[in-house]
Symmetry: C2
Subunit: 207 residues, 2 copies
Amino acid sequence: MTTDHLPEATRTPQRGRPRDASRDRALMDATLAELQLHGYSGLRTAAVAKRAGVSTATLYRRWRSKEQLVVDAARLWAEDLGPDRDTGNLRSDLALLLHDKATALDGPSGRTLRAVLGEAAHNQALADLLLREYVTPLHERVQALLARAAERGEIPPVADPVVVGEMVIGPMVTHTFLIPHTPGSRPGADIAERLLPYLLRALGARE
Amino acid sequence: MTTDHLPEATRTPQRGRPRDASRDRALMDATLAELQLHGYSGLRTAAVAKRAGVSTATLYRRWRSKEQLVVDAARLWAEDLGPDRDTGNLRSDLALLLHDKATALDGPSGRTLRAVLGEAAHNQALADLLLREYVTPLHERVQALLARAAERGEIPPVADPVVVGEMVIGPMVTHTFLIPHTPGSRPGADIAERLLPYLLRALGARE
């Protein structure tokens, strides 16, 4: 995970000096830290710059607005669901996906999602980012593992894989975001484990 | 739904003149409208006062801060899941609950939830409100309908009703909040209908 993931479009043109990748990374880390502490509404670019140990002028040379800064930071942390892997059967495919999603939700990616979810209602760049980075990869993995399970004859073909995708991601999101948890607990991992038998039954898998 | 629902604790003491309930209601409506347009971070108390046709001084006599204003407005709109009703069988009990929840999510209640979900990570008053007004009533209805269904012999006793509650609320929340929808569509109602057969199967109900 490096600042190489940042899209060129959000960068201002070079002005003679080479870019300092470690400083960009420090600014992204600082953005995440401030976002998770104070939320989108409480985020101050001056606090981000201070935390990263740079001047606000330096920050604004890279990112022209708080919005751009947050979009790039959210993109950086969203890339962590991991690849689809064929483990050979539905139960372990699904357990792996739930585990990967839980790890994401229990970590910085989940806290970032929570911090920007409300803002995305009013911000097309954030809404597009959430769809592309959080929703689509999950639904693609669900579709792939359902197709493999049906092909193996473990379950009947699934009529509505989108609903199944929502049944994977939804309970984990609400359990993580809406229920109070003790610091240090891993609510995503907890609900992922408890969800698995219900999902298998919903899919008509053999017990 | 009146301002009688507002808790006394958030009100400033009377100062000789009787309170104007219709003005309070106009301020609550204006808060919701601004919240849904601009989100928590974009909400300006001056814009709320202007929309309600009162001075900012009047607003601040009732609510000392933007936070208090939003907490009260969110409480006002959260009270809409409706009571549990025993329809006599699991399928129609569950369909009714899904319908009620979808109506809430597709309306002002859902837009309010989305607007304050991120802020609740940093605001204990909002977090408590979400738990009490959005989460607990849903889980209580789920528990009650599952107990009735098991008693009727429609399903085996449910080992983990909390997970089932999350399977009801979660997919509707993520489908409503994370997927783009055309204006005027009712994503909650759409997913509620598609979710029902999968939930019944997850519970081991007879087809």
